[in-house]
Assembly symmetry: C2
Homo-oligomer: 231 residues x 2
Amino acid sequence: MSGDVSEEPKPRRRQARGERRIAQLLQAAARVFCAYGYTATSTNAIAREASVSPGTLYQYFPNKEAIAIELGERLLHEMREAHGQAFTPENLALPLPELLDVVVDPMIAFNCEHPVFLALMHGSEVPGRIAEEHDALHASLLASVQEVIGHYAPALSAAERARIAGMVFAIFKGGLGLVLAAPEGAERDATIAELKTVLLRYLSPLVETPATTPATTTPVTTTPVTTTPTR
Amino acid sequence: MSGDVSEEPKPRRRQARGERRIAQLLQAAARVFCAYGYTATSTNAIAREASVSPGTLYQYFPNKEAIAIELGERLLHEMREAHGQAFTPENLALPLPELLDVVVDPMIAFNCEHPVFLALMHGSEVPGRIAEEHDALHASLLASVQEVIGHYAPALSAAERARIAGMVFAIFKGGLGLVLAAPEGAERDATIAELKTVLLRYLSPLVETPATTPATTTPVTTTPVTTTPTR
DNA sequence: GAGAAACGCGAGCGATCACTCGTGTTTGCC
DNA sequence: GGCAAACACGAGTGATCGCTCGCGTTTCTC
């Protein structure tokens, strides 16, 4: 022991080819996970999807779980990078409908681009490590939602805030499933609009209209979604 | 062929002991499915949970899928029997908050008593047959919700009605998960109340208050849940 | 160009799974 | 009591899974 000069336990040198293979394998894994779920997906199937031998797969990943973990971490990183926390201070000053746009739209867009994200984070079939990441992300987002709610309705007790935040999250998750199930185009846009309507109607009674903004709160538009908008 | 006097292809005589074993095996399967999910559950694990040998299990079920199917069918039957469709004509005359109670409460109660129902109907990991049953139930419930919405808001187009019904269903599903995750007691009751609040606020703007009922619609109570009620 | 190391392969290993079978026990019927 | 059928058992079977290993190929470094 103690003879470790470098802080890296695995200073494995990667060639450009290797990095390419890793990306290729993760893409293939995302496709197969998305189609059959984590447990029902065999490592040989991933290798086949990537047009690679099983041995090659195991040169880059120590086991099946590591594939899902790496995939999850890259998605998480990309998500944070693409639109940060979306709960920036200036967004907190926005009226509710605009805040919903700012928070919901990028989240929906991300999940539409990476459907495997939901598949990995959603299943109770995934092994421990992924579930931990999921719980951490869940808690982080929940805390952000709680903070926003506390800002909009400071009179609420902590328990109420937590309950409302959890409900908002559950509604979003359910709506996200609907959105992903809807065919792309007008129908999907309408579903997104409907999800925002749900959240708006749920949260509107909570904001106490502190008279600082005279007439910004639109009086609950009666579902303006009917004709196909913008393409 | 053609020598079949009875209409039953399998006129297997069951003794009382056999029926007991079947119930015992289904109970064990429900527990294990609920804990580990369908795919991750081995038939040997079910047999072990039921304190029975694998051979005995296969005397009553031809394969693993049949266990889940029989379990799902019994749950479906019990659900329909316990509270019918809950969408009876007299319930349609109820104001929205009461209708929500009548429809949501028994649904929640059933899923609390049989958590395996969600586990079976929810997973994308279940094999074809269960998914078909799930889709059928989903469509049936969706049609009922659409009918109710059409009754309360006849001015809506078919597409809007379908979208709203789907959203209501998604909200309920998400809220149901929250309710099951909450500890039994006051917290769970509060979560149920919150779920009803969501649905009420979402659907209230749709009813056109046709002046037949003067002042029945309560003006959106501002979350009356704070102190622990009843117990 | 030569050596080393990363890359790539696919047959195959041990473990586990869904499921079977031969045998012994219990139960219903006469 | 005797017989047939339902019940119960658990070691075992073939298939599949996650994963390994030995060896050949490509790429980097000098």
